[in-house]
């Protein structure tokens, strides 16, 4: 990928892991980040394998130097400048950062709704950015919930929830509907199975959207600012559901602005700033103990609470 003009200095700093280190003192626990990317690429057997205290954990998601630039005519905007981090099994990772820091773009890249310009994304040992890997199959392994719910307005709740299972995973209709009813029951929406999305409140729609994403037990659940479009009264019911998923061991990567929630529910917090990882650590380390002035500024409102 050619980086030119005013982008060059940024891309150099992003592609070199060493130059990032001073920015994030708290990265000691960060897996993968410090390891040289080149050596991992050469040996596919050990790709994405992370060693923490002698236990070998295979991360569900392993991002390796992911870059993305949007081009609009001659204007280039490098949104992701080399992002590397892992999401381990049963882990809830909160992706924080101000608007425009690249959270949404990163989510889209992981879900292959955007093509990365460079770097690799590994999902349980598969490089899903490899063009030879079927993108539809990779997408089907990841559950996604969007900010605007994005339920299909022409389908009832039950049809929305079962569509992927029936059409993509080829489940028999009875099996899919049984599972869907079970999920809807769990979230208290089974009575609305025959309703259409526009007849539901925002919070109800978002819960249905989560049920839809969970139908086929995805290996990873991506939650892209799922409470941002909800009024404060409805945020609680959706976050409660996320907490329940965490207790059930679902692996979750969530982009969010809910700092309070990230602080008590996330196992790890990744803070993006202008397309690079500024912090990566436990909520306590990142949100309370970081000495970085920008990080302290970002969490200042949270800390005052």
């Amino acid at each position: 990928m050619s980086e030119n003009g005013n982008q060059s200095d940024q891309s150099v700093s992003a592609s070199n892991p060493e130059s990032q280190a001073p920015m994030s003192e708290n990265n000691t626990q960060t897996q993968g980040q410090g390891a040289p990317a080149q050596s991992q690429r050469q040996d596919t057997q050990t790709v994405g394998v992370t060693t923490t205290s002698a236990n070998i954990i295979k991360p569900v998601l392993h991002l390796d130097n992911v870059k993305k630039t949007y081009r609009n005519g001659k204007v280039e905007n490098q949104v992701l400048k080399g992002i590397s981090f892992d999401v381990n099994p049963h882990e809830v990772v909160a992706l924080l950062g101000p608007s425009g820091s690249g959270k949404s773009t990163l989510m889209k890249c992981i879900n292959l709704l955007e093509r990365v310009d460079d770097g690799q994304i590994w999902l349980n040992g598969t490089d899903i950015t490899d063009p030879r890997v079927n993108a539809d199959k990779s997408r089907a392994r990841i559950g996604v919930v969007f900010q605007q719910f994005n339920l299909f307005p022409h389908m009832s709740v039950i049809k929305n929830v079962t569509l992927g299972a029936i059409k993509v995973h080829h489940w028999p209709k009875e099996k899919a509907e049984a599972k869907a009813h079970e999920l809807l029951q769990r979230i208290g929406m089974d009575a609305k199975a025959k309703a259409y999305p526009d007849q539901l409140s925002g919070g109800q729609q978002q819960r249905v959207a989560i049920a839809r994403a969970l139908m086929t037990d995805p290996e990873l659940l991506l939650l892209d600012e799922i409470t941002s479009a909800l009024d404060p009264m409805l945020v609680g019911e959706v976050l409660e559901m996320v907490t329940e998923l965490k207790e059930r061991g679902t692996t979750i990567l969530m982009a969010t602005h809910e700092m309070e929630f990230a602080h008590h529910a996330a196992d790890r917090v990744v803070l993006l700033r202008q397309g690079v990882i500024a912090e990566n650590g436990t909520p306590k380390e990142v949100m309370e103990e970081s000495q970085n002035p920008d990080t302290r500024e970002f969490f200042s409102h949270f800390r005052e609470v």
Binding site: K108, N111, L113, D136, K137, R139, A140, R141, I142, V144, F146, Q148, N150, L151, F152, P153, H154, L163, G164, K167, V168, H169, Y196, D198, Q199, R212
Partner: protein, 285 residues
């Protein structure tokens, strides 16, 4: 539910309901009176014009109406057949055109250019010229043998209306928000499944009135196959007119065409209303 509700109605609400009822009655009365006045004006206008008896005899003669009705009705059956096959053809070709036009793959550029050229050409050419071109041009090539005029007419109508319908569908496809596509793809649906299960159903709802408009227009234009010599309702009426020098058979054909379109118009209204009620919720405005 309504019973408990009526028991607890306050005096204010009762007064409001009474006011609304009186307002409704008043507007109904006004509309009835104004309609009657307009009708009376038309009748008086026709009665006082000196040529009215002749015009009435030429176009609205009861005798010729009854006389020509059976043959014109028989001709109408051919129009319905043409309409049936043309609708299928237009649906297929129109969808294809729309899908090519919204594609973004560089590989499909030649097809896209061709589709653009096609819709531009077909929408610009007068229907009657296209009918002549196909109705007399294709048999003139002397390769297919003898093709019935109705078949050639159907082909011409299909080619013409596919261009219009293709454009309507394209607008409909593009109107479906990109987030719907993202949502469908992230479930793992393929591009084709996404178009079939998510984009097309939503697009059709949005453009149903426009499509119905084209359908009714096509139904009317099916009468143009008479120019190729096919004995449809219009042609049958023409033959009667030539025999009797009375224009009433044309009115018969028109009445039949209008009657055929009414069920489709009602169906369309009912369908769009039902969808609106179900998917958008209903309010007072």
């Amino acid at each position: 539910m309504t019973q408990t509700a009526t028991q607890n109605i306050s005096a204010v609400e009762l007064e409001r309901q009474g006011y609304l009822r009186r307002q409704n009655l008043r507007s109904v009365a006004i509309s009835i009176v104004s309609t009657l006045v307009l009708a009376a004006l038309i009748v008086i206008g026709l009665k006082v014009s000196p040529g009215w008896p002749n015009v009435r005899e030429s176009f609205f003669s009861g005798k010729y109406f009854v006389q020509s009705f059976p043959t014109v009705l028989k001709g109408l059956w051919l129009n319905l057949e043409v309409l049936f096959f043309a609708t299928i053809g237009v649906a297929i070709l129109g969808t294809l055109l729309a899908m090519i036009r919204i594609s973004t793959s560089p590989l499909l550029f030649p097809l896209r250019a061709l589709a653009t050229l096609y819709t531009t050409f077909m929408r610009g050419i007068p229907m009657i010229v296209l009918l002549y071109l196909i109705g007399f041009g294709i048999p003139g090539l002397n390769i297919f043998g003898r093709i019935p005029a109705a078949v050639l007419g159907t082909i011409a109508i299909t080619l013409d209306y596919a261009a219009f319908v293709g454009e309507v569908l394209r607008a409909g496809f593009q109107d479906v928000h990109p987030s719907q596509r993202a949502s469908a793809r992230s479930l793992g649906l393929t591009s084709g499944q996404t178009i079939r299960m998510v984009i097309i159903p939503q697009a059709l709802r949005n453009v149903a009135p426009a499509l119905m408009n084209d359908f009714i227009s096509m139904q009317k234009d099916a009468g143009l196959i008479s120019t190729l010599g096919a004995v449809d309702a219009v042609r049958a009426a023409q033959i009667s007119v030539a025999q009797t020098y009375n224009f009433t058979p044309y009115v018969v054909a028109s009445v039949l065409f209008i009657c055929t379109s009414v069920p489709f118009i009602l169906l369309n209204d009912w369908y769009s209303k039902r969808l609106r009620g179900r998917e958008q919720g209903m309010g007072v405005v």
